[in-house]
Symmetry: C2
Subunit: 426 residues, 2 copies
């Protein structure tokens, strides 16, 4: 992180005097008739091209797994062993504790919560049988689709702050210790969406060992960006599954991952890793809704990667495309906003987002101004439950999709909007 969020509240008092100049700049921006989009963490066409060989894999005549199974037929509920082996190594889990499924991990997360609601997790009653609503802790800023699952299923959300080492573990520990309705917490351990933080071993140890009022509390460990590095230093978040086992709470962590931003979004493979008991629990219920995943696609991916080193080499190619875009975002923010006290921002080592905190009260105005100048930004508040950022300060930028030159144009425009909104409010 380049700066700490607190700095954003000290706005340069001279900014108000620049209002006419900033209005002119903004008018000129609008006159350009731009149409750019920084809303969602989508891979660019250039990144997708890296996986183009998948489109003719596994190839005719190639339909047999290493174990001799015909991947074109039914069965194999837990997923293709050779693909699970590759990702077990990358995620640091035993292959028997890793399921490979279809499409994307969002589905697996939703299914885990629904299974917990309807049937309970191992050692617990159905969450839906609890008196009153159940509660999830939501570190903020966080991922809107996590919050949407809770909203859809009537789960109460209580926010906890993010720190550069992951969720504020002391705040979490206090809440779970006293409130038995707290059944879960969302956590993106590696290069968090949106603030890029990485869960440290100390935070992970606290989360997996803290006493919980609910005996069936679960950590939804969404390791979406486990291998999505933006620097040569390949940061690893703490291995929560191992640590939970060591702490005597082996069933506390459900880890999710996918190849959505590795190969093709939606046409990839999703993964669930957890304790043997949780994997048996998920698989048992899965067997009522599926006879087996798309093993052809899993073979396709196994052949494409070869091994874990193949995945790492592939991700280095993603990095070569993405790193300059992220560098452009932080460079332009620094150049344009510098020490004016109108914003702080993250400088992540991986993942898909830059999280910007603007002058409190102005985030929605910044998004509105950008929109009217043809730059689509994620709605202000999206990184908070119910879309409500109490400080109206956080904006999530997703620079992966547009080409570099468009990222530069868009970020210059965003900087103008941040400045104008700050000046208006000064």
């Amino acid at each position: 992180m380049s700066t700490s969020p607190e700095q954003a509240t000290v706005v340069d008092p001279e900014l108000a005097t620049r209002l006419p100049e900033l209005r002119e700049q903004y008018a000129a921006l609008q006159a350009r008739g731009l149409s750019l989009d920084l809303t969602r963490g989508k891979p660019s066409a250039e990144q997708l091209d890296l996986s183009e060989p998948l489109l003719s894999l596994p190839g005719e005549g190639n339909h047999t797994s290493a174990a001799g199974t015909d991947v074109r037929n039914y069965g194999g509920l837990t997923g293709l062993p050779e693909l699970r082996e590759i990702f077990a190594e990358l995620l640091g889990v035993p292959v028997e504790q890793l399921l490979a499924q279809d499409n994307a991990s969002l589905r697996l997360m939703y299914d885990c919560v629904v299974q917990a609601m309807l049937f309970g997790v191992p050692g617990g009653e159905p969450w839906s049988a609890t008196d009153g609503p159940i509660t999830f802790l939501c570190p903020v800023p966080g991922y809107d689709r996590h919050f949407a699952i809770c909203e859809e299923l009537g789960i109460r959300m209580v926010t906890v702050p993010m720190t550069p080492d992951g969720p504020d573990a002391e705040a979490v520990a206090e809440l779970v210790a006293e409130d038995p309705s707290v059944k879960g917490i969302w956590c993106v351990p590696t290069y968090a969406n949106p603030d890029g933080s990485v869960v440290s071993e100390a935070v992970a140890r606290r989360l997996v060992s803290m006493p919980t009022a609910a005996p069936d509390f679960r950590i939804f460990w969404d390791n979406a960006y486990a291998v999505h590095h933006l620097t040569e230093h390949e940061t690893k978040s703490a291995n929560a599954i191992d640590l939970a086992d060591e702490a005597g709470n082996p069933d506390r962590v459900l880890m999710f991952a996918s190849t959505s931003k590795v190969t093709f979004a939606g046409a990839g493979v999703s993964f669930l890793a957890s304790s043997p008991a949780n994997i048996a629990w998920f698989s048992e219920h899965l067997s009522f809704r599926s006879i087996g995943p798309d093993k052809v696609n899993q073979l396709r991916h196994a052949l494409f990667f070869g091994d874990a080193a193949g995945v790492r080499a592939h991700m280095a190619k993603h990095r070569a495309i993405l790193a300059p875009k992220f560098a452009a975002v932080t460079r332009i923010l620094a150049e344009r906003l510098g020490d004016l006290g109108v914003a702080t921002w993250t400088d992540p080592d991986g993942g898909y987002f830059v999280s910007v905190d603007v002058v409190p009260g102005t985030a929605s105005r910044v998004v509105e101004l950008a929109g009217e100048a043809g730059i689509k930004l994620t709605p202000a508040g999206a990184t908070f439950p119910y879309g409500e950022d109490p400080r109206n300060a956080n904006i999530r930028l997703a620079p992966s999709m547009p080409p570099l030159d468009e990222v530069e144009v868009a970020m210059d425009a965003v900087a103008t909007c941040i400045l104008l909104a700050a000046a208006e409010s000064a």
Copy 2:
């Protein structure tokens, strides 16, 4: 149907005298050390080979939909329009009322039931909020995985008889009229699993127009074998979605289909067709668990088929492989069991199964004898809820998977087992 089930109860009185001879036959059978499997409706390797070109489709550089979308990226929740068009024609529904999703239709059925439990269907309360258990009508013999979904979700099952024209509509109408806990019925309209019956227009009209005590009653119309013909005459079940609309109950029918037994099982595409209100309902909840299906696989399928005629031509190739196996089953049963009164069986015009009714009380013994002679059969009772066939008479045969010569050997063995079990019980 070649014979009616009632005939099975008049066993030839001389059969008991053949017991020593049949025991010798069976001992000789066991001595062969066979290992054959007629348990599940799996396509054979020869059938899977028909779709082998899929394994190198869509091909490098081919990743754009007809509408210009990059199928490698996120989005497109309702599925690829060009593939939906092909199957909309085959299923006789408007393309806007057809969703294309991943993997298999079992998933879609499970999700529909779960959505109804948690959120209610359009115009209804959540089924889980009903006082006492809810009820599904289960035509028998039927599909074990339908019953398993009910069992998993705590749904009470009440059986209704099958007829050659589909479920006994009068029995169904009586039950739904008086019991508001009856929220659904399973129905396989085309070449039913296992009895091969096809729902007539008269039965469909009755089912979609009958008054129901529950305002939110739904028909789960599992059109799994819509294009799976075994004769040149391509039977069509009644178009329940159109008929429901005409009857003023447009939201009553949820139709499911897939390419599981068209291309690759599990690596295919699944479909949900229904009224605009039901499709909107399903899609809205779907949007919380998915950003979009595997559009690459949908493009792969669209390119492979070309159009609806392409699907029909492809299914004719399946027929050429399957029809001789089904002919062998019915020929051998007729030759071996003839007019002995020990069994009746279906002679389906499509689908994947032959349903055999043996002497009441002996089905489980037949399966046991077959198993001990190396012929795996579906467990007796599997075609009934909770695996309990009250007459212990029905056996489901699935001849698709083994090569023709193995089907012949297996069926000769099955005939011996049916005879021996009958003689033992005489």
